[in-house]
Amino acid sequence: MTRVRNRWLLHPRRGRGIVAAAGVFAAAAMLGTAITVSFGLATGFDRAAERADLPDLVVRFRTDRMEDVDRRIRALPNLESRSYRLEVRDVPVLGRGQLRRRTAIEIAGRGRRGYAVVSGRDLSRDPGEVVMERGLARAWGLHVGDSVEVGRLGPLRLAGIVVAPDDVAFPLISRPRLWISKAGLRIPRGASAPVNNALVWVRDPARLDATLVQARAVGFGLRDLRIATHEGVRVLVDRAAGIVIALLVAFSLVAAAAAGLMLGASARADVERRLATVGVMRAVGFSRARVAGGYALESAVMAAPAAALGLAAGVLAAYGPTGHLLDVLSELPPGRALALPLLAALLAVVGLVAAATAWPAARAASRPPATLLAGAELRRAPRHMPGSGTPLGLGVRMVLARRARAAATVAVLTAATGVVLLMLGLASFLSRLQDDPGSVGRRYDLTAKLPGDRAGDVARIPGVAAAAPRYVAEGVDSFDIGEPVKLIAFPGDHTRFEAAPLASGRRVRADGEAEVGVGLADALGLRPGGALAVQLGSGTEARFRVVGVVRAIDNDGRVAYVRPRRLLGADPALAPTIAIRLAAGADRAAVSRGLEQLGAGPQATAAATTRNARFLGVLAGVLRVVALVNGLIALYALAQALALTAMERRSLLAVLRAGGASRRTLTLVLAGSALAVVALAAPLAVLAERVLLAPIVARLAAGYASLPLGAGAGEIAVVLAGLALLAAAAAALAARRVVREPIVAGLRQQ
């Protein structure tokens, strides 16, 4: 009976089969994209950390004798192993004709490395070798075996390319890292090697806290001690990836729900059309379960290849951008590990499709066979639909006649369009972050390296609206060593030049006061009225009273705005740059010439993340890919809704054709149906994006900043125009299918 059943059910209905398969393909492509990006980002750090044998603790300190450091480290409890490095900064490196002075050369001793070799091999005892982090190798186009000149060591052979997940990669960090073997240096026998980094592996990671406390204690005496834990590194890296993962997981659910709604509606319509077939099957002895199972099998056979192709397309679309994203995060792509979640997704999609088909079939099969054979429909009595008698008006009536279907389509379109708007808004914001200092609250246009007392001279240059010295000092919190703080000081009202929104408290009015970023406030538990004590790089301490908390995006919100006097008191050697605001319509070139005459080379103001431009560009690229795939979902929802409408109303459309309706008229009728749902979905999508999605994502992205994530008017206009085009395209496709069917076939439907 199974063979008979299957032959019966798998009756070729190519047109509708293709529409359904296209829907499965679109939903699966979305899932494939989401899984590739979210799985890649969610597991990238662990994968890289495992392969690199990342240490549990990375301890950095001012250069000291290895014997002294080792004596302290050996005393740590729970210690499994350790190794040491000397990091030497700003050694000129030349490769393939490109020179970089800002570098970090890591001189590695014996022991575990803490990086993963992704190409070539690790350092040997051969003194003429170097390994390099992947970011720089890729940026310079270097390959294993190429020659790299490292400072006075001269040309070295590039033995391997590595990923070191204890930090993000070049260009996200400004100092790309290279490693050479200690054996390559001529250290006199018996002399103690200097080191400033210790890598520590513990036996029991669950007891890391105790080791960490002890490390801080035994580290007393080591200057500028900073300790980073494996988990701390993960948190820092995941912060960037977290928003993308959250977005994609949310969107995967939206896509799956959308696909489920549409496939369920499609299956219901198909079952309604074939009620008589179901009736015959029941009459000849098929059980209810067998009828439902047959439909489920039929749809699973259709869905499996479409879902597999869709998942593959999603992976192909997202793997490249995700790989770039992982590159700059010093993480590794998922590779074969992706197969398992993809297989699970394939099973889920096929299962969803089969269930969505089996359910209405089982419901239909529960009716008496005689009722089914009489052609009784599942739907209710029709309602009068008001509206005009034009083709568009008839289309509106047709689609609104099935309110539940129309509501489902509107819901899918609203969700899909809302997410497209969000993705585009987010991508634009990231692009602004790359280029527009205003996006991070910076209101000055140029900076110039001049002594602070020259600000008045700069202000007198025609075209300059305001100029003031800007001091920046890096330090760490005195109470929580290792918590970095960036102090920014302007004389007078700093909001003329930098104005992060005030979250609580008030602005700075006196020398001993500070406005702290929410990121810093959260990390240190600071509130207005609290005290901020910062150990500066000079070794001195500056103390401030916190009067306000601001939503600053710079340095992850770990900033504090203060007045210069106390800062200069703690570090008199601190040199400012002059921040320059241009007057409206000022000639930037003329101002630059004026600055050059004062002996300063002007620089355009950087956005907070200019160094991270590539990362942001890649992230924006990923978001745009997701938006594009999401657009496919919208097209599918529309096409499927129209296909269902056309299928259900084939007798109506056949009567119209028999009465002389042209293909153009039919296209207009179907366009009316599409535009009706688009007209309902578009304002809801804009509202959903503004009121719901953007605020949620802004909070997810950075609790420490106010991110203007809403889509702009231009993006909204583009998306709405795109929706209208999608409606027109879907209507044209559906009309094309309708006119391909013989009129008499439609008339045969009662």
Partner: protein, 220 residues
């Protein structure tokens, strides 16, 4: 002179062993103002003949001329215009749009395709005594009222040829008689009516009865 002249119509369905030639050299002439009833057993090709005459299906061979127009030579656009301007269809199952009132169903061709006018539609509703049904949805109307609405829809374009496919097949006998009288009346207005039926009562009102047998039209 005939309004409709069909010669040597051939139409097959299926292929191979399952193939069946339902029309095999069928000829038919219909004069202006004539009501021709086409009889035949189930599956004899009556509806197929009607579909070919109305340009909603194409013959494998043969010629069809309606009002001097070679229907078999028309392309898709020509066929659309032919159906819009020259033909009115009445179907066994009415095919009314369930969400539209009776009047809206009648006026639909005029509003959608520009065939005929809204005024003519309203006149037809009055003439066919459908005032009470005009504002109601089809599922609240009797079968006879629904079919009269469908007839009014078929006439709204002022077509010279009305093709009725089993118009009484889904009606009780009283409603059937009313619809047949209506069709008889139409033919008196210089419209030609081709009525496909297997109902002897329906055939009784025809000017001429023909029978489809073995794919050919024979005098009834």
């Amino acid at each position: 002179m005939s309004l409709v002249t069909a010669r040597g119509l051939v139409k097959s369905f299926g292929s191979g062993a399952a193939g069946r030639r339902v029309l095999d050299g069928a000829d038919l002439d219909v004069a202006p103002g004539e009501l021709v009833a086409v009889l035949g057993r189930s599956g004899s090709g009556k509806s197929t003949l009607l579909h070919l005459l109305g340009g909603i299906d194409s013959a494998d061979a043969g010629t069809i001329e309606v009002a001097g127009m070679r229907v078999d030579r028309l392309d898709e656009r020509g066929l659309t215009e032919f159906r819009r301007d020259q033909v009115g269809f009445v179907f066994q199952f009415f095919h009314l749009i369930p969400e539209l009132t009776g009047e809206e169903n009648v006026l639909l061709p005029a509003r959608l395709t520009g065939a005929g006018s809204v005024e003519r539609g309203r006149m037809l509703l009055e003439r066919l005594r459908l005032d009470g049904a005009a504002g109601r949805l089809p599922h609240t109307l009797s079968g006879g009222e629904q079919q009269r609405i469908a007839v009014a829809r078929a006439l709204v374009n002022g077509a010279g040829l009305v093709l009725a496919d089993e118009p009484t097949g889904n009606l009780d006998s009283r409603s059937g008689v009313a619809v047949l009288e209506l069709l008889r009346e139409l033919a008196r207005d210089e419209r030609s009516v081709v009525l496909v039926t297997h109902d002897a009562q329906a055939a009784a009102i025809a000017d001429r009865v023909v029978e489809l047998d073995d794919g050919r039209v024979r005098p009834g």
